[in-house]
Symmetry: none
Subunit: 287 residues, 2 copies
Amino acid sequence: MFDAAIIGTGPAGLSAAINLKMRGKEVIWFGSGDFSGKVEKSEKIGNYPGLGLVSGRELNEKFRAHAAQMGLEITDRIVTNISRLKDRYMLLANNEMYEARALLLATGVVPGRGFDGEKELVGMGVSYCATCDGMFYRGKTIAVFCGAKRYEPEVTYLAEMAAKVYLYAGYPGCEVEAPNVEQLKSPIRQVQGGMRLTGITLANGTEVPVDGLFCLRSAIAPTTLLPGLTLEGPHIVVDRHMATNLPGCFAAGDCTGAPYQIAKAVGEGNIAAHSILDYLAEQGREA
Amino acid sequence: MFDAAIIGTGPAGLSAAINLKMRGKEVIWFGSGDFSGKVEKSEKIGNYPGLGLVSGRELNEKFRAHAAQMGLEITDRIVTNISRLKDRYMLLANNEMYEARALLLATGVVPGRGFDGEKELVGMGVSYCATCDGMFYRGKTIAVFCGAKRYEPEVTYLAEMAAKVYLYAGYPGCEVEAPNVEQLKSPIRQVQGGMRLTGITLANGTEVPVDGLFCLRSAIAPTTLLPGLTLEGPHIVVDRHMATNLPGCFAAGDCTGAPYQIAKAVGEGNIAAHSILDYLAEQGREA
Protein backbone atom coordinates (compact mmCIF):
# COMPACT_ATOMS: atom_id res chain seq x y z
CA MET A 1 0.00 0.00 0.00
CA PHE A 2 1.23 3.48 -0.87
CA ASP A 3 1.22 6.36 1.59
CA ALA A 4 -0.39 8.59 -1.00
CA ALA A 5 -1.72 8.53 -4.54
CA ILE A 6 -1.54 11.70 -6.60
CA ILE A 7 -3.65 12.06 -9.72
CA GLY A 8 -2.41 14.68 -12.13
CA THR A 9 1.03 15.76 -13.34
CA GLY A 10 0.29 19.45 -13.66
CA PRO A 11 1.90 22.04 -11.37
CA ALA A 12 -0.26 21.11 -8.35
CA GLY A 13 0.53 17.39 -8.58
CA LEU A 14 4.23 18.10 -9.10
CA SER A 15 4.42 20.45 -6.13
CA ALA A 16 2.79 17.84 -3.88
CA ALA A 17 4.92 14.97 -5.24
CA ILE A 18 8.16 16.89 -4.58
CA ASN A 19 7.20 17.61 -0.98
CA LEU A 20 6.01 14.09 -0.18
CA LYS A 21 9.13 12.58 -1.75
CA MET A 22 11.37 14.94 0.24
CA ARG A 23 9.64 13.71 3.38
CA GLY A 24 10.28 10.07 2.51
CA LYS A 25 6.74 9.03 1.69
CA GLU A 26 5.86 6.22 -0.73
CA VAL A 27 3.87 7.87 -3.47
CA ILE A 28 2.23 6.65 -6.64
CA TRP A 29 1.81 9.46 -9.11
CA PHE A 30 -0.63 9.06 -11.99
CA GLY A 31 -0.76 11.24 -15.07
CA SER A 32 0.84 12.14 -18.34
CA GLY A 33 4.63 11.93 -18.52
CA ASP A 34 4.40 15.06 -20.67
CA PHE A 35 3.05 16.91 -17.64
CA SER A 36 0.46 19.62 -18.13
CA GLY A 37 -0.77 20.11 -21.67
CA LYS A 38 -2.28 23.39 -20.57
CA VAL A 39 1.09 24.68 -19.36
CA GLU A 40 2.86 23.29 -22.45
CA LYS A 41 0.54 25.15 -24.78
CA SER A 42 0.58 28.49 -22.99
CA GLU A 43 2.24 31.00 -25.29
CA LYS A 44 3.76 33.16 -22.58
CA ILE A 45 3.81 32.99 -18.82
CA GLY A 46 4.99 36.07 -16.98
CA ASN A 47 3.57 35.59 -13.52
CA TYR A 48 5.35 32.56 -12.14
CA PRO A 49 7.64 34.32 -9.67
CA GLY A 50 11.33 33.79 -10.22
CA LEU A 51 11.24 32.83 -13.88
CA GLY A 52 10.49 36.14 -15.60
CA LEU A 53 8.82 35.74 -18.97
CA VAL A 54 8.90 32.15 -20.21
CA SER A 55 7.00 30.06 -22.71
CA GLY A 56 4.77 27.28 -21.46
CA ARG A 57 7.06 24.81 -23.12
CA GLU A 58 10.11 26.16 -21.27
CA LEU A 59 8.30 26.08 -17.93
CA ASN A 60 7.03 22.55 -18.48
CA GLU A 61 10.58 21.49 -19.35
CA LYS A 62 11.77 22.97 -16.04
CA PHE A 63 9.00 21.09 -14.23
CA ARG A 64 10.02 17.82 -15.89
CA ALA A 65 13.69 18.45 -15.05
CA HIS A 66 12.81 19.13 -11.40
CA ALA A 67 10.83 15.89 -11.17
CA ALA A 68 13.71 13.98 -12.76
CA GLN A 69 16.22 15.56 -10.38
CA MET A 70 14.07 14.40 -7.45
CA GLY A 71 13.83 10.89 -8.85
CA LEU A 72 10.06 11.13 -9.12
CA GLU A 73 8.41 8.47 -11.22
CA ILE A 74 5.19 8.87 -13.12
CA THR A 75 2.69 6.09 -13.72
CA ASP A 76 1.26 7.03 -17.10
CA ARG A 77 -2.07 5.30 -16.61
CA ILE A 78 -5.57 6.70 -16.51
CA VAL A 79 -7.41 6.34 -13.23
CA THR A 80 -11.00 5.61 -14.10
CA ASN A 81 -12.52 4.86 -10.74
CA ILE A 82 -11.77 5.36 -7.06
CA SER A 83 -13.50 3.82 -4.08
CA ARG A 84 -13.03 4.64 -0.46
CA LEU A 85 -12.61 1.96 2.19
CA LYS A 86 -12.36 2.66 5.91
CA ASP A 87 -8.69 3.60 5.97
CA ARG A 88 -7.64 3.67 2.33
CA TYR A 89 -8.52 4.47 -1.25
CA MET A 90 -8.67 1.87 -4.03
CA LEU A 91 -7.77 3.22 -7.45
CA LEU A 92 -8.56 1.45 -10.71
CA ALA A 93 -6.19 2.34 -13.54
CA ASN A 94 -5.92 0.42 -16.79
CA ASN A 95 -7.59 -2.55 -15.11
CA GLU A 96 -5.11 -2.63 -12.24
CA MET A 97 -5.87 -1.87 -8.60
CA TYR A 98 -3.72 0.41 -6.44
CA GLU A 99 -4.11 1.12 -2.72
CA ALA A 100 -3.15 4.32 -0.93
CA ARG A 101 -3.80 5.71 2.54
CA ALA A 102 -4.26 9.25 1.27
CA LEU A 103 -5.39 10.71 -2.04
CA LEU A 104 -4.67 13.95 -3.84
CA LEU A 105 -6.84 14.99 -6.76
CA ALA A 106 -4.93 17.41 -8.98
CA THR A 107 -6.88 16.65 -12.09
CA GLY A 108 -7.23 20.13 -13.55
CA VAL A 109 -10.22 21.45 -15.37
CA VAL A 110 -10.76 19.41 -18.50
CA PRO A 111 -12.39 21.13 -21.47
CA GLY A 112 -15.31 19.12 -22.84
CA ARG A 113 -15.99 18.18 -26.44
CA GLY A 114 -14.21 20.65 -28.68
CA PHE A 115 -14.87 22.29 -32.04
CA ASP A 116 -13.42 20.84 -35.23
CA GLY A 117 -9.78 21.89 -35.47
CA GLU A 118 -9.75 23.33 -31.94
CA LYS A 119 -7.44 20.81 -30.35
CA GLU A 120 -4.79 21.33 -33.04
CA LEU A 121 -4.57 25.07 -32.36
CA VAL A 122 -4.47 25.15 -28.57
CA GLY A 123 -1.76 27.63 -27.62
CA MET A 124 -1.69 28.93 -31.18
CA GLY A 125 -4.74 31.10 -30.92
CA VAL A 126 -7.06 28.80 -28.97
CA SER A 127 -7.20 29.44 -25.22
CA TYR A 128 -9.26 28.08 -22.34
CA CYS A 129 -8.49 30.79 -19.81
CA ALA A 130 -9.42 34.46 -20.13
CA THR A 131 -7.39 35.63 -17.14
CA CYS A 132 -4.34 33.66 -18.34
CA ASP A 133 -4.20 34.76 -21.97
CA GLY A 134 -6.59 37.71 -22.31
CA MET A 135 -3.79 40.25 -22.09
CA PHE A 136 -2.15 38.88 -25.21
CA TYR A 137 -5.17 39.94 -27.25
CA ARG A 138 -5.19 43.60 -26.29
CA GLY A 139 -6.58 45.58 -29.23
CA LYS A 140 -7.22 42.44 -31.29
CA THR A 141 -10.26 40.66 -32.65
CA ILE A 142 -11.33 37.50 -30.89
CA ALA A 143 -14.15 34.98 -30.75
CA VAL A 144 -15.46 33.63 -27.45
CA PHE A 145 -17.49 30.53 -26.76
CA CYS A 146 -19.17 31.06 -23.41
CA GLY A 147 -20.40 27.72 -22.16
CA ALA A 148 -22.12 28.84 -18.96
CA LYS A 149 -23.42 31.92 -17.23
CA ARG A 150 -20.65 31.78 -14.63
CA TYR A 151 -18.10 32.62 -17.34
CA GLU A 152 -19.75 35.95 -18.23
CA PRO A 153 -17.34 37.98 -16.07
CA GLU A 154 -14.49 36.44 -18.07
CA VAL A 155 -16.19 37.53 -21.30
CA THR A 156 -16.52 41.06 -19.90
CA TYR A 157 -12.83 40.98 -19.04
CA LEU A 158 -11.95 39.86 -22.57
CA ALA A 159 -14.14 42.66 -23.99
CA GLU A 160 -12.05 45.15 -22.00
CA MET A 161 -8.88 43.81 -23.60
CA ALA A 162 -9.88 43.08 -27.18
CA ALA A 163 -10.94 45.61 -29.81
CA LYS A 164 -13.76 43.34 -30.99
CA VAL A 165 -15.39 40.22 -29.53
CA TYR A 166 -17.60 37.79 -31.45
CA LEU A 167 -19.51 35.93 -28.75
CA TYR A 168 -21.48 32.73 -28.90
CA ALA A 169 -23.21 31.67 -25.71
CA GLY A 170 -24.05 28.02 -25.29
CA TYR A 171 -27.11 28.79 -23.14
CA PRO A 172 -30.08 31.16 -23.34
CA GLY A 173 -30.17 34.62 -21.72
CA CYS A 174 -26.54 35.67 -22.02
CA GLU A 175 -26.28 39.13 -20.50
CA VAL A 176 -22.84 40.31 -21.56
CA GLU A 177 -23.19 43.80 -22.97
CA ALA A 178 -20.39 45.95 -24.25
CA PRO A 179 -20.23 48.12 -27.37
CA ASN A 180 -17.52 45.93 -28.89
CA VAL A 181 -19.28 42.60 -28.27
CA GLU A 182 -21.31 41.13 -31.11
CA GLN A 183 -23.37 38.04 -30.36
CA LEU A 184 -23.19 35.46 -33.11
CA LYS A 185 -26.53 34.12 -34.36
CA SER A 186 -25.11 30.80 -35.40
CA PRO A 187 -22.97 28.39 -33.29
CA ILE A 188 -19.24 28.02 -33.83
CA ARG A 189 -18.61 24.89 -35.85
CA GLN A 190 -14.98 24.86 -36.88
CA VAL A 191 -11.65 26.49 -36.12
CA GLN A 192 -9.54 27.63 -39.08
CA GLY A 193 -5.79 27.97 -39.34
CA GLY A 194 -2.53 26.27 -40.17
CA MET A 195 0.37 27.16 -37.90
CA ARG A 196 -1.88 29.66 -36.13
CA LEU A 197 -5.58 30.30 -35.82
CA THR A 198 -6.90 32.60 -38.54
CA GLY A 199 -10.66 32.46 -38.05
CA ILE A 200 -13.75 30.43 -37.25
CA THR A 201 -16.56 29.01 -39.32
CA LEU A 202 -20.11 29.10 -38.04
CA ALA A 203 -22.78 26.43 -38.45
CA ASN A 204 -24.51 28.58 -41.10
CA GLY A 205 -21.30 28.62 -43.14
CA THR A 206 -20.25 32.19 -42.33
CA GLU A 207 -16.50 32.62 -41.94
CA VAL A 208 -15.30 35.08 -39.31
CA PRO A 209 -11.60 36.08 -39.30
CA VAL A 210 -10.29 36.38 -35.71
CA ASP A 211 -6.91 36.49 -33.97
CA GLY A 212 -7.94 34.21 -31.13
CA LEU A 213 -10.67 31.95 -29.79
CA PHE A 214 -11.49 31.53 -26.11
CA CYS A 215 -13.45 28.41 -25.19
CA LEU A 216 -14.95 28.94 -21.73
CA ARG A 217 -16.50 25.61 -20.78
CA SER A 218 -17.32 23.58 -17.73
CA ALA A 219 -15.32 20.59 -16.53
CA ILE A 220 -16.09 16.93 -16.42
CA ALA A 221 -17.47 16.25 -12.95
CA PRO A 222 -14.84 14.73 -10.62
CA THR A 223 -17.71 12.83 -8.99
CA THR A 224 -17.54 10.51 -11.98
CA LEU A 225 -14.14 9.51 -10.61
CA LEU A 226 -14.95 9.46 -6.92
CA PRO A 227 -18.60 9.35 -5.87
CA GLY A 228 -19.44 11.23 -2.70
CA LEU A 229 -17.14 14.14 -3.30
CA THR A 230 -18.73 17.51 -2.59
CA LEU A 231 -18.61 19.87 -5.56
CA GLU A 232 -19.59 23.44 -6.16
CA GLY A 233 -20.34 23.70 -9.85
CA PRO A 234 -17.45 21.90 -11.54
CA HIS A 235 -15.03 22.48 -8.66
CA ILE A 236 -14.09 20.29 -5.71
CA VAL A 237 -14.91 22.00 -2.43
CA VAL A 238 -11.84 22.28 -0.20
CA ASP A 239 -10.94 24.10 2.99
CA ARG A 240 -7.79 26.15 3.65
CA HIS A 241 -5.88 22.89 4.20
CA MET A 242 -7.03 21.59 0.79
CA ALA A 243 -9.10 18.90 2.51
CA THR A 244 -12.24 17.71 0.70
CA ASN A 245 -15.32 16.34 2.49
CA LEU A 246 -13.85 12.82 2.37
CA PRO A 247 -11.27 11.90 5.07
CA GLY A 248 -7.79 11.51 3.63
CA CYS A 249 -8.83 12.97 0.28
CA PHE A 250 -7.33 16.32 -0.71
CA ALA A 251 -7.51 18.41 -3.87
CA ALA A 252 -5.28 21.10 -5.40
CA GLY A 253 -4.93 23.20 -8.53
CA ASP A 254 -7.50 24.18 -11.14
CA CYS A 255 -9.93 21.47 -9.97
CA THR A 256 -10.53 23.49 -6.78
CA GLY A 257 -11.57 26.61 -8.70
CA ALA A 258 -10.33 29.92 -10.07
CA PRO A 259 -7.94 31.63 -10.47
CA TYR A 260 -6.59 29.03 -12.91
CA GLN A 261 -2.99 29.93 -12.32
CA ILE A 262 0.27 27.99 -12.11
CA ALA A 263 1.40 29.82 -8.97
CA LYS A 264 -1.90 29.04 -7.24
CA ALA A 265 -1.59 25.38 -8.26
CA VAL A 266 1.95 24.93 -6.89
CA GLY A 267 0.90 26.69 -3.69
CA GLU A 268 -2.10 24.44 -3.21
CA GLY A 269 -0.05 21.34 -4.04
CA ASN A 270 2.42 22.35 -1.35
CA ILE A 271 -0.31 22.90 1.24
CA ALA A 272 -2.00 19.60 0.29
CA ALA A 273 1.28 17.69 0.72
CA HIS A 274 1.70 19.11 4.21
CA SER A 275 -1.90 18.24 5.06
CA ILE A 276 -1.30 14.69 3.81
CA LEU A 277 1.79 14.45 6.06
CA ASP A 278 -0.35 15.54 9.02
CA TYR A 279 -3.08 13.08 8.04
CA LEU A 280 -0.63 10.16 7.74
CA ALA A 281 0.96 11.01 11.09
CA GLU A 282 -2.46 11.04 12.76
CA GLN A 283 -3.46 7.74 11.12
CA GLY A 284 -0.19 6.25 12.35
CA ARG A 285 -0.97 7.30 15.92
CA GLU A 286 -4.46 5.79 15.76
CA ALA A 287 -3.28 2.47 14.31
CA MET B 1 -4.86 57.30 -4.73
CA PHE B 2 -3.38 53.90 -5.55
CA ASP B 3 -5.49 50.93 -6.61
CA ALA B 4 -3.67 48.74 -4.14
CA ALA B 5 -0.96 48.87 -1.49
CA ILE B 6 1.12 45.78 -0.89
CA ILE B 7 3.14 45.46 2.29
CA GLY B 8 5.97 42.98 2.08
CA THR B 9 8.53 42.09 -0.57
CA GLY B 10 8.71 38.37 0.15
CA PRO B 11 7.39 35.76 -2.29
CA ALA B 12 3.71 36.51 -1.54
CA GLY B 13 4.07 40.26 -2.08
CA LEU B 14 6.07 39.71 -5.25
CA SER B 15 3.55 37.27 -6.69
CA ALA B 16 0.71 39.74 -6.07
CA ALA B 17 2.69 42.73 -7.38
CA ILE B 18 3.49 40.93 -10.65
CA ASN B 19 -0.15 40.05 -11.26
CA LEU B 20 -1.55 43.49 -10.42
CA LYS B 21 1.07 45.18 -12.60
CA MET B 22 0.25 42.85 -15.51
CA ARG B 23 -3.36 43.87 -15.19
CA GLY B 24 -2.50 47.55 -15.34
CA LYS B 25 -3.21 48.49 -11.73
CA GLU B 26 -1.50 51.33 -9.91
CA VAL B 27 0.27 49.70 -7.00
CA ILE B 28 2.46 50.98 -4.21
CA TRP B 29 4.68 48.25 -2.88
CA PHE B 30 6.31 48.68 0.52
CA GLY B 31 9.17 46.62 1.83
CA SER B 32 12.87 45.92 1.66
CA GLY B 33 14.54 46.24 -1.72
CA ASP B 34 16.56 43.20 -0.67
CA PHE B 35 13.36 41.14 -0.68
CA SER B 36 12.89 38.35 1.82
CA GLY B 37 15.65 37.89 4.38
CA LYS B 38 14.14 34.53 5.22
CA VAL B 39 14.51 33.31 1.63
CA GLU B 40 18.00 34.84 1.35
CA LYS B 41 19.20 32.91 4.39
CA SER B 42 17.81 29.52 3.35
CA GLU B 43 20.70 27.23 2.55
CA LYS B 44 18.90 25.03 0.08
CA ILE B 45 15.42 25.09 -1.38
CA GLY B 46 14.35 22.00 -3.28
CA ASN B 47 10.59 22.32 -3.35
CA TYR B 48 9.93 25.40 -5.44
CA PRO B 49 8.68 23.65 -8.57
CA GLY B 50 10.65 24.38 -11.71
CA LEU B 51 13.91 25.44 -10.11
CA GLY B 52 15.31 22.16 -8.87
CA LEU B 53 17.75 22.58 -5.99
CA VAL B 54 18.73 26.22 -5.43
CA SER B 55 20.19 28.28 -2.62
CA GLY B 56 18.01 30.91 -0.99
CA ARG B 57 20.36 33.56 -2.32
CA GLU B 58 19.94 32.30 -5.90
CA LEU B 59 16.17 32.18 -5.59
CA ASN B 60 15.99 35.67 -4.11
CA GLU B 61 18.17 36.91 -6.97
CA LYS B 62 15.70 35.38 -9.43
CA PHE B 63 12.85 37.08 -7.59
CA ARG B 64 14.63 40.44 -7.77
CA ALA B 65 15.36 39.94 -11.47
CA HIS B 66 11.72 39.11 -12.17
CA ALA B 67 10.56 42.25 -10.38
CA ALA B 68 13.08 44.34 -12.32
CA GLN B 69 12.00 42.78 -15.61
CA MET B 70 8.40 43.72 -14.83
CA GLY B 71 9.41 47.28 -13.97
CA LEU B 72 8.14 46.90 -10.42
CA GLU B 73 9.26 49.59 -8.01
CA ILE B 74 9.70 49.14 -4.30
CA THR B 75 9.08 51.85 -1.75
CA ASP B 76 11.64 51.02 0.92
CA ARG B 77 9.71 52.61 3.76
CA ILE B 78 8.26 51.04 6.83
CA VAL B 79 4.51 51.18 7.20
CA THR B 80 3.82 51.72 10.87
CA ASN B 81 0.10 52.38 10.91
CA ILE B 82 -2.94 51.76 8.73
CA SER B 83 -6.44 53.10 9.15
CA ARG B 84 -9.51 52.14 7.21
CA LEU B 85 -11.90 54.73 5.83
CA LYS B 86 -15.14 53.86 4.07
CA ASP B 87 -13.65 53.09 0.66
CA ARG B 88 -9.91 53.23 1.19
CA TYR B 89 -6.96 52.54 3.44
CA MET B 90 -4.62 55.24 4.76
CA LEU B 91 -1.05 54.05 5.30
CA LEU B 92 1.52 55.91 7.35
CA ALA B 93 5.13 55.24 6.33
CA ASN B 94 8.08 57.34 7.45
CA ASN B 95 5.73 60.21 8.33
CA GLU B 96 4.09 60.24 4.91
CA MET B 97 0.50 59.28 4.13
CA TYR B 98 -0.47 56.98 1.27
CA GLU B 99 -3.98 56.11 0.10
CA ALA B 100 -5.08 52.90 -1.56
CA ARG B 101 -8.43 51.35 -2.43
CA ALA B 102 -7.30 47.83 -1.56
CA LEU B 103 -4.67 46.46 0.77
CA LEU B 104 -2.56 43.32 0.79
CA LEU B 105 -0.74 42.29 3.94
CA ALA B 106 2.19 40.04 3.04
CA THR B 107 4.16 40.88 6.12
CA GLY B 108 5.53 37.49 7.03
CA VAL B 109 5.09 35.82 10.34
CA VAL B 110 5.84 37.74 13.47
CA PRO B 111 7.66 35.57 15.95
CA GLY B 112 5.28 35.74 18.87
CA ARG B 113 3.51 39.03 19.37
CA GLY B 114 6.48 41.20 20.16
CA PHE B 115 7.75 41.75 23.66
CA ASP B 116 5.47 41.52 26.67
CA GLY B 117 3.86 44.91 27.16
CA GLU B 118 5.10 46.23 23.80
CA LYS B 119 1.74 46.56 22.09
CA GLU B 120 0.27 48.57 24.99
CA LEU B 121 2.97 51.23 24.74
CA VAL B 122 3.13 51.82 20.98
CA GLY B 123 3.35 55.59 20.51
CA MET B 124 4.06 56.01 24.23
CA GLY B 125 7.72 55.16 24.11
CA VAL B 126 7.63 52.18 21.74
CA SER B 127 8.43 53.02 18.12
CA TYR B 128 8.98 50.99 14.95
CA CYS B 129 10.61 53.70 12.87
CA ALA B 130 13.94 55.41 13.63
CA THR B 131 13.62 58.15 11.03
CA CYS B 132 10.05 58.91 12.14
CA ASP B 133 10.58 59.20 15.87
CA GLY B 134 14.33 59.37 16.45
CA MET B 135 14.33 63.15 16.83
CA PHE B 136 12.11 62.91 19.90
CA TYR B 137 14.87 61.10 21.76
CA ARG B 138 17.65 63.65 21.33
CA GLY B 139 19.89 63.47 24.37
CA LYS B 140 17.86 60.67 25.92
CA THR B 141 18.46 57.03 26.79
CA ILE B 142 16.92 54.43 24.54
CA ALA B 143 16.90 50.72 23.88
CA VAL B 144 16.94 49.31 20.35
CA PHE B 145 16.01 45.87 19.13
CA CYS B 146 17.67 45.42 15.74
CA GLY B 147 16.04 42.50 13.94
CA ALA B 148 18.16 42.44 10.79
CA LYS B 149 21.40 43.72 9.35
CA ARG B 150 19.60 46.11 7.03
CA TYR B 151 18.41 48.16 10.01
CA GLU B 152 21.95 48.93 11.19
CA PRO B 153 22.00 52.38 9.51
CA GLU B 154 18.90 53.23 11.54
CA VAL B 155 20.66 52.19 14.72
CA THR B 156 23.60 54.44 13.79
CA TYR B 157 21.14 57.28 13.19
CA LEU B 158 19.55 56.72 16.59
CA ALA B 159 23.00 56.67 18.21
CA GLU B 160 23.62 60.14 16.76
CA MET B 161 20.44 61.41 18.40
CA ALA B 162 20.35 59.68 21.74
CA ALA B 163 22.78 60.12 24.61
CA LYS B 164 22.87 56.38 25.25
CA VAL B 165 21.72 53.36 23.26
CA TYR B 166 21.25 49.86 24.67
CA LEU B 167 21.25 47.59 21.64
CA TYR B 168 20.15 44.00 21.23
CA ALA B 169 20.68 42.46 17.78
CA GLY B 170 18.53 39.48 16.83
CA TYR B 171 21.26 38.04 14.55
CA PRO B 172 24.98 37.30 14.82
CA GLY B 173 27.66 39.73 13.69
CA CYS B 174 26.05 43.09 14.39
CA GLU B 175 28.54 45.76 13.36
CA VAL B 176 27.13 48.95 14.81
CA GLU B 177 29.92 50.76 16.62
CA ALA B 178 29.60 54.06 18.42
CA PRO B 179 30.95 55.13 21.80
CA ASN B 180 27.43 55.53 23.22
CA VAL B 181 26.14 52.14 22.03
CA GLU B 182 26.20 49.27 24.49
CA GLN B 183 25.29 45.83 23.21
CA LEU B 184 23.07 43.91 25.61
CA LYS B 185 24.16 40.36 26.44
CA SER B 186 20.66 39.12 27.14
CA PRO B 187 17.54 39.46 24.92
CA ILE B 188 14.82 41.95 25.71
CA ARG B 189 11.91 40.17 27.36
CA GLN B 190 9.47 42.76 28.62
CA VAL B 191 8.54 46.41 28.27
CA GLN B 192 7.84 48.35 31.48
CA GLY B 193 5.59 51.35 31.97
CA GLY B 194 2.13 52.60 32.76
CA MET B 195 1.03 55.65 30.81
CA ARG B 196 4.49 55.76 29.26
CA LEU B 197 7.42 53.44 28.82
CA THR B 198 9.86 53.58 31.71
CA GLY B 199 12.24 50.71 30.98
CA ILE B 200 12.85 47.21 29.73
CA THR B 201 13.49 43.89 31.41
CA LEU B 202 15.95 41.44 29.90
CA ALA B 203 15.63 37.66 29.78
CA ASN B 204 18.26 37.40 32.53
CA GLY B 205 16.08 39.57 34.77
CA THR B 206 18.15 42.77 34.50
CA GLU B 207 16.01 45.92 34.44
CA VAL B 208 17.22 48.77 32.25
CA PRO B 209 15.54 52.16 32.64
CA VAL B 210 15.10 53.84 29.22
CA ASP B 211 13.03 56.66 27.73
CA GLY B 212 12.18 54.81 24.56
CA LEU B 213 12.38 51.47 22.77
CA PHE B 214 12.81 51.11 19.03
CA CYS B 215 11.82 47.74 17.61
CA LEU B 216 13.39 47.49 14.15
CA ARG B 217 11.83 44.40 12.64
CA SER B 218 10.74 43.39 9.18
CA ALA B 219 7.36 42.36 10.46
CA ILE B 220 5.07 44.28 12.75
CA ALA B 221 2.29 42.38 14.54
CA PRO B 222 -0.73 42.68 12.19
CA THR B 223 -3.14 44.11 14.74
CA THR B 224 -0.60 46.73 15.78
CA LEU B 225 -0.50 47.77 12.13
CA LEU B 226 -4.22 47.59 11.44
CA PRO B 227 -6.58 47.45 14.41
CA GLY B 228 -9.74 45.41 13.91
CA LEU B 229 -8.11 42.61 11.97
CA THR B 230 -9.24 39.14 13.06
CA LEU B 231 -6.36 36.89 14.10
CA GLU B 232 -6.03 33.28 15.16
CA GLY B 233 -2.95 33.15 17.34
CA PRO B 234 -0.33 35.16 15.45
CA HIS B 235 -1.97 34.54 12.06
CA ILE B 236 -4.38 36.65 10.04
CA VAL B 237 -7.62 34.79 9.41
CA VAL B 238 -8.41 34.56 5.69
CA ASP B 239 -10.87 32.65 3.53
CA ARG B 240 -10.08 30.74 0.32
CA HIS B 241 -9.97 34.06 -1.56
CA MET B 242 -7.38 35.42 0.91
CA ALA B 243 -9.92 37.94 2.18
CA THR B 244 -9.61 39.07 5.80
CA ASN B 245 -12.55 40.24 7.90
CA LEU B 246 -12.03 43.84 6.68
CA PRO B 247 -13.48 44.75 3.25
CA GLY B 248 -10.77 45.36 0.67
CA CYS B 249 -8.06 43.97 2.95
CA PHE B 250 -6.40 40.73 1.90
CA ALA B 251 -3.47 38.74 3.30
CA ALA B 252 -1.04 36.20 1.83
CA GLY B 253 2.05 34.23 2.74
CA ASP B 254 3.43 33.26 6.12
CA CYS B 255 1.22 35.82 7.92
CA THR B 256 -1.83 33.64 7.12
CA GLY B 257 -0.35 30.55 8.78
CA ALA B 258 1.57 27.34 8.14
CA PRO B 259 2.97 25.72 6.09
CA TYR B 260 5.63 28.44 5.91
CA GLN B 261 6.60 27.68 2.35
CA ILE B 262 7.65 29.75 -0.65
CA ALA B 263 5.33 27.87 -3.01
CA LYS B 264 2.39 28.46 -0.70
CA ALA B 265 3.28 32.16 -0.46
CA VAL B 266 3.45 32.72 -4.23
CA GLY B 267 0.18 30.81 -4.62
CA GLU B 268 -1.58 32.92 -2.04
CA GLY B 269 -0.14 36.13 -3.47
CA ASN B 270 -1.53 35.15 -6.85
CA ILE B 271 -4.99 34.39 -5.44
CA ALA B 272 -4.97 37.64 -3.43
CA ALA B 273 -4.11 39.67 -6.54
CA HIS B 274 -7.05 38.16 -8.38
CA SER B 275 -9.34 38.83 -5.42
CA ILE B 276 -8.14 42.46 -5.39
CA LEU B 277 -8.95 42.73 -9.10
CA ASP B 278 -12.47 41.45 -8.40
CA TYR B 279 -12.81 43.84 -5.46
CA LEU B 280 -11.69 46.85 -7.49
CA ALA B 281 -14.06 45.93 -10.33
CA GLU B 282 -16.93 45.67 -7.87
CA GLN B 283 -16.03 48.99 -6.24
CA GLY B 284 -15.94 50.56 -9.71
CA ARG B 285 -19.45 49.32 -10.46
CA GLU B 286 -20.80 50.65 -7.16
CA ALA B 287 -19.21 54.09 -7.57
